[in-house]
Amino acid sequence: MKRFIGFVRKEFYHIYRDKRSLFILFGMPIAQILLFGFAITNEINKVEIAILDHAKDATTIEIIHKMASSKYFSINRYLDAESQVEGVFKQGKIKAVINFEKDFGEKLIKEGQSTIQVIADATDPNTANSITNYIQAIIQQYNQSINNNQAGSSQVFMQTHMAFNPEIKSVFMFVPGVMTIILMLVSAMMTSISITREKELGTMEILLVSPLKPFQVVLGKVVPYILLSIINAIIIVLLSIFIFKMPVQGSLILLGLESVLFIITSLSLGILISTIAETQQTAMMISLMGLMLPVILLSGFIFPISSMPLPLQLISNTIPAKWFIIIIKGIMLKGVGIAFIWKETAILIGMTLFFMGVSIYKYKIRLE
């Protein structure tokens, strides 16, 4: 055990003394979160919308008034028919059309529900998303106000339609995505590089020709990075909560445990890479090309998986990041508990065991 602690201490010296990597390690998540955050959460202000009111009754006028009086929207014009919608979008000025169904107010009273359709111009997906979110908020407020005044449970439902780009996903997607990339990068790339560095220096030969057991060497390499990755995960979550007001709906403990699981998955991938790669350069290339690109392209972080061709959808199943993104999205955005994500968790555990098994099988007690 003393040997092992000595080994871990040495690893911390390496990390601490390499100021540049240390800066990248902690600077990168902050920079990425801020970049993605400010690029995506551009608040909307006086966005021009159009109204298509088939009912024209007291209720619709009240809702329209609420929208008009908010600082977010400005009503540009009233339309008469659905056929006009495409035309106004093509002019480009109007970003959304609010469509009230026929007999809107009457239905709300008699049937207890009526529907507003929000048609957003999704060529600018971020704005489109923001618009629907804000309108949703206005409608929710309205629902609360009518239900407080009247005993019955009447509700206005909102139906969204994204014109031109129906696959648009949630705006808060970026936090789970960035968190996944950072954890993957720090854990897999840093461990594989630090193991291959010993091979390049020739010190791996000495470590092998010593009473240290190979698994102690690997574990000693991994422990510091587990700690660093956990710190990184905490930084990312704090940033998104306090700077971007991103709500964490679910349990923080569950989020923490799942993150640790994913860190271990990435670390075992990193060890696997280092059993293949002989130099730091190869380790870095494999990590970047083999891990980063699939995470960015195929995990659903940027491109929605459901719109990918089938072969790519199948491949995306083999990417641990995809499952982790589903898990943390569930916890952070939907507030779900383990009951809803046990399948994804099980898949991650399975992958981790597989990577570890292969690494142990491939790990050499000798040089060949």
Partner: protein, 301 residues
Amino acid sequence: MGISLDNISKSYKGFKAIQNISFEVKPGELFGIIGPDGAGKTTLFRILTTLLVADSGTASVAGMDVVKDYIGIRKSVGYMPGKFSLYQDLTVEENLQFFATIFGTTLEENYDLIKDIYEQIEPFKTRRAGKLSGGMKQKLALCCALIHKPKVLFLDEPTTGVDPVSRKEFWDMLKRLQEKEITILVSTPYMDEAALCDRVALMQDGQLLEIDSPKHIVQKYPKAVYEIGAKERHKLIQVLRDFPNLYSVYPFGEFVHYTDKRTDLEIPELENYLKSKGLSEIYIGLTEPTIEDVFMELARK
């Protein structure tokens, strides 16, 4: 407690790195493996330090089999690999402490063994290893390899890239370690270092050319070696190649080394021949063969 190899062979992807190597190193011996790059020295070291498994043959170190008892060997040998460069970002002291810890010992426990060497680098103990000169790095590396008081010490090309002063100091240190009953196997591409070993094995292209003490090796050289000098060095070699009784001619420092097919070479005869070819400032003298002469003669065969 020495080292023994019996018919060891090893190939990589069809390339025969070493072939049928057998020799014994006696306990307490300072044994040198002398050969150029690519001779198979590093492969041999890696087999003995249990890092590689030979394709055929058996070997033992300190009485333990290199395959079956690799764990035992790893506990009792010290090893300095060829391109070993320590942890550049750790200080001298931290490097030493690290190696002490992984071998389950402390700096204090075996201090007497490394005292001589460590005292030379102690003034720099808070300096990072990367900032040390080449000679000091070698000393630190040797300390690290000795910290657990190994029975057998493997040093793979410890003096490559090191200047003459540090090389001399390094060999002096090895001599002192030998007095402490440590068996030392050292490899080098420099023929002049052979003379510093008790016994040497000359190696080329994966094969052993000769094993003996450096003294015996040169004594066995069958021919008289003449050193010949002339003002026109390049022409001298060309002209000697045309001499009918030539056996071999090689540039050798400021002279060339010449051997004759006959045993009764008359110096004046050769001198006249050289003069007749237009060479000037001719010098011919008998000289002692060196390890390099022997090596070339053996490699020719």
